[in-house]
Amino acid sequence: METILEVNGLTMDFGGLRALDHLNIDIRRGEIVALIGPNGAGKTTFFNCITGIYLPTQGDIIISPPKAEGTHKRERINGLKPNQVTEKGMARTFQNIRLFPNMTVLENVMIGRHCRTRAGVAGAIFRNRAMVREEQSIVDDSFRVLEKIGLARYVNDQARNLPYGAQRLLEIARALATEPFLILLDEPAAGMNPQETHELDELITRIRDDEGISILLIEHDMKLVMSLSNRIFVMDYGKKIAQGTPEEIRNNPVVIKAYLGEEIDA
């Protein structure tokens, strides 16, 4: 499988603090990859760097979006704005839910369609036929995404009235609507009960299998991480300390040390 995201030597300094230290990560097509590590390890900073919210101090972020014919071109995306990164095909969700609370569920997803549609001010005012058709397609596509995620019954509710678990799902739906090749999920299972977590597990697998979208997720729920991911990267203090399959990570002494601390011989 070809690599779709390649991060080489990514470094991010906040003043004197090195939040990310020469990080190398790669994601292949059709993979579910987890990024784990103790609190403050720099996982979310990593997300913010590759989605353009922060400008990394050093290093390369290279994407090669998969194309149907198999011809994919490599592209360095450092310094692009967040909306341009999304347009390139990397969509994300947020650790602390960031929906548009006063818009309806459908409208939240329709916002995701924004970068794939073109209607401008003139189109909005004159509503020529092409624009009407585009608007209808935005509505239909968004509704289809909601059906896929299982939120269709909330379609006209305000986003802020949704139950917590549904809000998390709506973030995923919104990201899906941007037609990404890679979705970045920042703690998607945070605050979910075991039943919801189990459904999320199935949903993420389904997104990968049905849509062919690769997934990179930050998660603290180890059960979910172990059952879901093909590969795991472990971070601590801004450095990558381990990588491998769930089985390898589970038994890696370095990882255990990072999470539980070192054993002291008396």
Binding site: F94, R98, F100, I111, C115, E135, N161, R174
Partner: protein
């Protein structure tokens, strides 16, 4: 279990406190010439009864608001206001519109010039309110210098008419373009700002424009302003004063309808949704692929366009403009219209504009208390209906579940 004993007790304490506070000024009167102290105890009784009743009514209203919230399950369903109930009932819509159209059509012929003039002003504020509504209500960018664009429009017409003799209809689109241009001009430096910082910069921008107009004598004729600006002509025919006011009234009606039409379409379009998303969460909005820069600039430009056009109409209406018409108070007034009417709601903003502009005119008898009443209305509105007269309701869509999947 509404008027509980504790509520009464609280109101009673409030009234005691007020009696104590006002004791020195309301009760004691010292007559210095005759060296007499007059004790006016009856005033204390009035104070006590008055403040008790006011406090009690206030508590009762708050209580009603609270229970209203509890009744609606989700906690966000507010009780519909009078206007919302009329708007949502199909039976009332047709007769109400018919009556409205008839009223609008005969108004200038029934009423005298003075009344028509006031109505034109109110209509102008509707358009201004709807324009600012794009910036503040939809895109969530608090703009305290909106009057600057209004001034730009007015001076565009004033100067072009004075120097080149250009007519009203020629300058109207130019005024719109100038408004949009200045909107973008303001938009660029404030792209990175939001909230309070944005408010301060826009406030400064409004003052800069006014000060330039006031001090650049060669350009804008300074505080003495521009006089004898031509009134709008009807296909080249100059109208008499009274008929030109009637004419302007209908121009303004057309303008209001045009604005409502455009703003309504924008609101439920791809651009409008992007504005609202920007208001709701800037970071998430960008992460979802919306170009923040472009979205903000379109909001500023399209908002300012209306102010530019109304500015042209204002210059044509008064035939005299000077910088004194474009003070911060005007911006505050327009902002009050948007907030009072309900952010993002077209009907609400229109109603609020009519109330805030017409009411002071008809309450001339109480002109000394005008600002007091104005302030009280704003405070009461913010406590009991913070969402405005008519809350903005997002459009809902219908789907057949079996059509898809």
């Amino acid at each position: 279990m509404m008027p509980t004993l504790s509520e009464i007790k609280k109101s009673f304490l409030v009234s005691l406190w007020f009696m104590f506070l006002t004791f020195p000024i309301m009760v004691i009167r010292v007559n210095t010439t005759e060296k007499l102290v007059l004790w006016r105890w009856e005033n204390m009784a009035y104070m006590g009864i008055g403040s008790f009743l006011l406090s009690f009514v206030w508590r009762y209203m708050l209580w009603r608001k609270e229970t209203g919230k509890k009744d609606s399950e989700s906690g966000t369903l507010q009780l519909p206001s009078f206007f919302e109930r009329i708007l949502s009932d199909r039976r009332y819509i047709v007769p109400a519109t018919a009556a409205g159209i008839a009223l609008v059509a005969i108004f200038p012929f029934v009423m005298d010039t003075y009344q028509t003039n006031i109505m034109i002003t109110a209509l102008m504020y509707i358009v201004l309110g709807l324009g600012l509504n794009i910036v503040v209500g939809l895109a969530g960018l608090l703009d305290l210098g909106y009057v600057a664009f209004y001034a730009v429009g007015a001076y565009t017409y004033g100067l072009l008419n004075h120097h080149f003799g250009l007519g009203f209809w020629t300058v109207l689109p130019i005024g719109a373009v100038m408004g949009a241009f200045f909107g973008i001009l303001l938009g660029f430096p404030v792209l990175r700002l939001r909230g309070d910082y944005l408010a301060i910069v826009t406030l400064g921008f409004g003052e800069i424009i006014r000060l330039i107009l006031e001090n650049w004598n060669e350009f804008s004729f300074g505080p003495s302003g521009i006089a004898q600006i031509a009134r709008p002509s009807l296909f080249g025919i100059q109208l008499s004063l009274s008929s030109s006011i009637i004419y302007l009234y209908f121009v303004m009606i057309g303008m209001v309808l045009f604005t409502i039409f455009v703003v309504n379409r924008l609101q439920n379009s791809r651009i409008g949704r992007a504005w609202i998303a920007l208001r709701e969460d800037e970071v998430a909005c960008q992460a979802m692929g919306i170009d923040k820069t472009r979205t903000k600039l379109t909001a500023f430009a399209l908002g300012a366009t209306w102010a530019g056009m109304v500015g042209v109409i204002f210059a044509a209406k008064t035939t005299f403009i000077n910088p004194a018409s474009f003070t911060f108070l005007e911006s505050a007034m327009i902002l009050a219209i948007v907030v009072l009417g309900g952010m993002g709601s077209i009907v609400g903003v229109s109603i609020a504009a009519l109330i805030l502009i017409l009411l002071p005119e008809y309450l001339r008898a109480f002109s000394e208390f005008r600002m007091l009443i104005f302030g009280a209305i704003m405070v009461i509105m913010m406590v009991f209906r913070p969402q405005g007269i008519v809350a903005n309701v997002r459009r809902s869509y219908k789907f057949q579940p079996d059509k898809h999947s």
